[in-house]
């Protein structure tokens, strides 16, 4: 914790105003960026990651966030053919639900389908089928009333979706590489006599086209909270102060038989600023945010781990620059 961080590196959240030193934060130059950028991973596991990125400009980090949400491609079900739908769910609602199911397929191994191409090839499409019928359970004994005892296939789950290899796909992929990410997504509920038979085609696209292609549940950033006690807060006041912040932010320590408040972990504070409701405490605390210290959180909804998604986002940003640069050269030679 930078307890003696320079004040011009902070947004001070005062009672009715956000105070900030007039430093230059709306521009970004390459030498300063290279000198100041720091990245530290705080948490990294499959669905979620959190990392600190220090010394970056809001415009650049926002570009990465926007790209993660709408420009990183994934595979998702795009076309659904209904052969039989006797369930209570309407065709179009069911088709929409199927589209939202995340798939494990690695989008890097596939190409975009060309505009207007209705059939596709084994390099740009994945075919799936779902054929399920609900019947009475002949083995059900008297006195059992739960649907899972009474019926066979009383619900359709994402695990019922079966991959149908086309072309040379059966040699390249395995069912567990391209199937749904989660096996327990409920698609529909059925009763005896209901039947569902659909075939589906998944294609590659990005979140800009439809939100179902977005690879992240959320990608967001926030600034590191800054809390500083200007004078000692003791006794009952210390406990009141502790209650003003999220659990774990303020700790109590015993010194010479007295209880003192200590800033333990400002990172986890929700920045409720409840302390400003305590007239005798509000002048003892400085609340703020560290200007260039971003805490970035990514939750992946697809088979790709979140750190790979971020790398992909940075590469897409780079590609945008490279492509635009090539275009400016073409443009300069035109005019």
């Amino acid at each position: 914790m930078k307890s003696d961080a320079k004040m011009d590196n902070l947004f001070i959240l005062a009672e009715d105003v956000v105070k900030t030193a007039p430093t230059n934060s709306v521009t970004l130059d390459l030498p300063t960026y290279k000198e100041k950028l720091q990245v530290k991973i705080m948490k990294l596991n499959h669905p979620e990651m959190e990392f600190d990125i220090i010394g970056i400009n809001p415009a650049l980090i926002n570009a990465f966030r926007r790209i993660l949400i709408s420009d990183v491609p994934t595979m998702a079900i795009e076309k659904v053919t209904m052969h039989q739908n006797k369930t209570v769910i309407q065709d179009e609602v069911l088709a929409h639900r199927l589209g939202l199911i995340p798939l494990k397929a690695n989008p890097k191994l596939f190409q975009y389908r060309l505009m207007g191409d209705q059939t596709g090839t084994d390099r740009d499409s994945l075919h799936y089928s779902l054929h399920i019928k609900c019947t009475k359970n002949p083995l059900c004994r008297a006195g059992h009333y739960r649907p899972e005892d009474l019926y066979v296939n009383h619900q359709v789950l994402s695990s019922d979706i079966k991959w149908v290899p086309i072309g040379g796909q059966s040699r390249l992929y395995k069912e567990e590489d391209v199937g749904p990410v989660y096996d327990d997504i409920l698609i529909a509920k059925m009763r005896p006599g209901h039947e569902l038979h659909v075939t589906m085609v998944a294609v590659k696209s990005c979140g800009r086209d439809h939100a179902k292609f977005s690879p992240v549940g959320t990608a967001s950033y926030r600034l590191l909270p800054y809390i500083k006690l200007q004078e000692d807060v003791e006794g009952e006041d210390a406990k009141t102060l502790q209650r003003c912040f999220s659990a774990g932010v303020i700790s109590l320590e015993e010194r010479k038989g007295k209880t003192f408040a200590k800033v333990e972990n400002p990172r986890i504070d929700m920045c409720s600023r409840n302390v400003l409701n305590e007239p005798h405490l509000k002048n003892k605390v400085i609340l703020g945010r560290v200007k260039d210290h971003y805490i970035f959180t990514i939750e992946s909804t697809v088979g790709t781990p979140p750190d790979e998604l971020f790398k992909e986002a940075v590469k897409i940003m780079k590609k945008k620059c490279v492509d635009a640069l090539a275009e400016t050269k073409k443009f300069a030679s035109r005019s």
Binding site: T27, V39, M115, K318, K320, C321, A324, K330
Partner: protein
């Protein structure tokens, strides 16, 4: 997506400014590139004004304005794009380093 359209064009009206002021039109781009590029270009000492706008939210078009005190606007644009590209490279490098550090730390504990 209209592939016939050039990705970058120039908006008319600056013909007599000696190439120091230009508004460029980016097709298929928006705030993602616009704001980041604006930040980079605004930091150059030769640039007197730099701004961008997405005139209509339903059209994927971005207008990018550069005014300089000397160099040609197109050169400034190219320099900005190159710098932004290098920033992406640097970010990627730092991020990969951090992931590696984290993974080795996790393995050793």
């Amino acid at each position: 997506m209209n592939t016939d359209l050039p990705k970058i064009a120039e908006i008319a009206g600056d013909e007599d400014s000696d190439e120091k002021s230009r508004t460029f039109l980016f097709n298929e781009e928006g705030h993602t590139l616009g704001n980041a590029l604006r930040c980079v270009i605004a930091s150059y000492p030769d640039v007197t004004f730099c701004g961008y706008t997405v005139p209509h939210p339903a059209e994927t078009k971005m207008h990018f304005r550069i005014q300089t005190s000397g160099p040609r606007a197109i050169e400034i644009l190219q320099r900005g794009l190159k710098d932004l590209e290098k920033m992406c490279d640097h970010t990627l490098e730092k991020f990969e380093e951090a992931v590696l550090t984290y993974k080795t730390e996790q393995m050793s504990t």
